[in-house]
């Protein structure tokens, strides 16, 4: 049964408005309420809250956030229960189409019409979208049967239809790996997963549990170079790539299939961020934020996959809790923590979030490495902190808890985050 609660009526002003009711939005709304903000509105485009979690019917969620291994819909349910305990207006089937820089929100909803309202603070929790065929320019014809893995997941898990009978998956992102297993269980022949890079883009556990356990071949350093079929996909061509990722067309081979699923990455859905002219980080594609996830426009916060692409929903919930609490504080006119330390990606680090830290509060720094290091690795936060870990790989986000004590004496400084093999460091 769908769990929704329509607002009694829409107020003309809210303390906090949360856009998106996935793991980020659900967590932010609760945190804002717990912080004392009273009038909270959460909107979601889908008919019920939960976001993409609802189509992730596999397990592996919640180990950190709920201390139990649950499926995506169960995770959404647990997170939503916390919202329902609080007094939060939830409006579904609703889009925020415009937000002005003075935080006037325009929304469209079949139930509430086209309305504008003012908000004290705003949490953007709009998630991510999938990269498409257009983003990577696969040559060839344009038949039906080319679909992103996430859309296929929605078709199968929420609506009960299959994307095809013989599928090839391009890209080894987590959704692709999960769908390789899902489709196999549904009786679809999954002929292989092809990855341009020399390593899988998804989590190691998914490579094992979704591919190896089902004898689905993973072809690294290989990509799709052609698509054939006037009506439906009939055949694709794949080829290995050289060290510069250029396909070796003379070594290509054909695969007969009717479906090509793309799992080639997620892009933060930064439409509202762009509309609000927030400072964006070209490395993440999301906004630049402080340690409380506040963007360059005071009162506007971002959390979850629209800020940077997370690997686990649990991290999203935690990050959004910080954003929601601070959004509540700002709406209530409370003191903002000083943001007096800057962090920046250094050796072998692709990006770091947040972009500034505070010597007044505890915070978590999240980052991803560029190249895998399969051995003891030293993580540095400037000279403030270092920590040894066993290995780092790009698919797995690295987090570091940073207490105010660690930052003592670094106010005004810029700290570089590095991830270096221990042996290099010692030599």
């Amino acid at each position: 049964m769908p769990i929704t609660s329509q607002p009694r009526h829409l107020l003309s002003r809210y303390d906090v408005t949360v856009v998106g009711a996935g793991p980020a939005g659900l967590s932010a709304a609760v945190a804002a309420r717990e912080q004392g903000a009273e009038r909270i509105l959460m909107v979601d485009r889908d008919p019920e809250p939960g976001g993409i979690l609802l189509q992730c019917i596999h397990s592996g969620f919640g180990l950190h956030e709920f201390k139990q291994d649950v499926t995506g819909p169960e995770y959404a349910h647990l997170a939503l229960e916390r919202v329902i305990e609080q007094d939060v207006d939830v409006l579904t089937n609703t889009y925020v189409t415009d937000v002005t820089r003075d935080l006037r929100v325009k929304l469209m909803s079949p139930e509430a019409g086209i309305s504008t309202l003012d908000t004290g603070s705003l949490v953007i929790a709009t998630g991510a979208r999938e990269r498409t065929r257009a983003a990577i320019k696969i040559p060839g014809e344009r038949p039906a049967g080319v679909m992103t893995a996430g859309l296929a997941q929605k078709m199968v898990n929420l609506h009960g239809y299959l994307p095809g009978r013989r599928a090839v998956i391009l890209g080894s992102g987590d959704i692709g790996l999960i769908m390789a297993r899902r489709l196999t269980l549904e009786g679809v022949q999954v002929l292989g997963v092809f990855e341009l890079l020399p390593f899988a883009s998804g989590l190691g556990r998914n490579v094992v549990q979704c591919l190896q356990d089902f004898d689905i071949p993973l072809h690294l350093s290989t990509t799709v170079v052609d698509i054939h079929g006037h009506q439906r996909v009939e055949r694709i061509a794949v080829a290995p790539v050289d060290d510069d990722l250029v396909p070796q067309l003379d070594k290509s081979w054909d695969i007969e299939c009717d479906t090509l699923l793309l799992s080639i990455g997620l892009i933060p859905d930064a439409e509202l961020a762009r509309q609000l002219q927030l400072n964006l980080d070209p490395r993440t594609g999301g906004p630049v934020v402080t340690s409380t996830m506040e963007t360059s426009l005071p009162g506007v916060f971002a959390a979850g996959n629209n800020l940077h692409i997370n690997d686990l929903a649990d991290w999203v919930s935690q990050e959004a809790r910080a954003a929601g609490a601070a959004a509540g504080d700002v709406a209530l006119g409370r003191h903002r923590a000083r943001q007096d330390v800057t962090v920046t990606p250094g050796r072998n680090v692709a990006y770091v979030v947040p972009h500034t830290l505070s010597t007044e509060r505890s915070q978590t720094v999240s980052f991803r490495v560029k190249q895998p290091i399969y051995g003891d690795t030293m993580l540095h936060l400037g000279d403030a902190h270092k920590r040894k870990v066993r290995a780092v790989v790009p698919p797995e986000m690295v987090t570091m808890k940073v207490s105010p004590k660690l930052l003592d004496g670094f106010a005004g400084d810029t700290l570089r985050v590095d991830a270096i093999p221990v042996e290099e460091e010692e030599s």
Binding site: P110, I114, E130, Y161, F214, D215, E271
Partner: protein, 493 residues
Amino acid sequence: MGDDRVWDVLIIGGGAVGATLARALSRFHLDVALLEWQAEVAFGVSKANSGIVHSAMHASPDTLKGKLEYPGNLGWRQLHDELGFGLNNVGEVLVALDDEQLVRIEEIRQQGIRKGIPGTQAWTAERTLDAQPNLTREVKGAVWAPTACVFNPYEAVMLVADAARRNGVTIAEEQRVVGIDPPDAEDPDAPLTVRTETDVWRGRFVVNAAGLFADDIAEFAGVRDFKILPRKGEEYLLDKRLSGIVTSIIFPCPSPISKGTLVNPTVDGTIMVGPTAQTVDDKFDTSTTEEGAAQVFTNARKLVPTISERDIIAEFAGLRPVSDTEDFIVGPTDRRGFINAAGIQSPGLTGAPALADLLVDILADEGLELDEKDHWDPTAPHPVKFNQLPTEEQQALARRDPRYAHLICRCEIITEAEVRDAMDRGAHTLDGLKFRTRVGMGRCQGGFCTWGCMQLLAEHQGITIPEVTKRGTGTWIVCDRDDHPVTTARNGG
């Protein structure tokens, strides 16, 4: 279809020519059917091109193309007023980069003046850069032609076909013609019998507006005097953030063989560069190529130096139905009742409304009686473009119909009400919806809206979700689960 029914006119081909002809014929008391082989009209040549209503300076008034160009330009503007498809009168800037080209573009302007094109101006380099500051500093001068427009040809053709349908024309889709019976030796006045894969159609007149396949259709009718040689044009759309880099259609000085590579704003505000011009063998070859991109961008940078391949967000290729005579092939043939409208390459899209009027005259000369209807409605309700309306008007619409407050496509802001209107006007495939409403054309390329559109398409047609297609037969999107043996992981996990 209709077994013994004899249609006054059968039009083969639902592109710009077929649709404007159908609409022109809808003014008269006639039984007209338009046969389109694809799932929807405008899915062929009319779908993939530069989307320009030409200024009408370029083609020589001595050719049929040149004669039809300016009346066609006026025709599209009138259809825009009557039917409400998007059309922006952005004008053309024809650029000269050296003294020789200055002479040539002035000749083109004088030709335009002789053809009656109003408002053209000869611009100095300074005036040109004032109007288009992102053009190359190498510019020596330009001709300004205010008559050029941009539009979405598929949207226009779909609405023209809808207008024809509203006035009684039968639009029959997925009707691939597979043969035309030989003439009846006993009765030379007998109607022509056109066979499609599924039906038999009989018509007193058959107009061949079959685009790339016009030579095949002509051959069915025993007319073998021309060939269509598809000429491919690749087009590249640039990121919206470049909107405004040029505000008019920028033309290079043409060479004797081609109009060259253009840089133009589209009616939706994106910047498009192209086309290439390459003769190909395959009438289905709409692939884009690395060489094509390189050529387009090298040429485009001669006009607008800051344009880069890095800004490509979408690309497509279309085929021009070029006849081996290089001119339009229009008129009656040796086969009685069989009229050609073939080889309609550039500026054929521009000329189409005028070509339609010419074809009506030709049909009349051949014996078709034109009895005007008393109550013919040249207009149709204009499609609502919700995302272009001010908030107050949006709110008023949503109060009247809550489906205007239900978004289907978030990237382009397209509402359920607009999608339903498109279906009422004939859209019945995902691509049909996309080209009519722009749903799924935005950044997420349908990742979010595909399911919502499929649900609406299934409901509207009373079909199941697996029966919904991308663009007709064979282009299914999802299938049903079957009964299958349960697969389990090797280790039981």
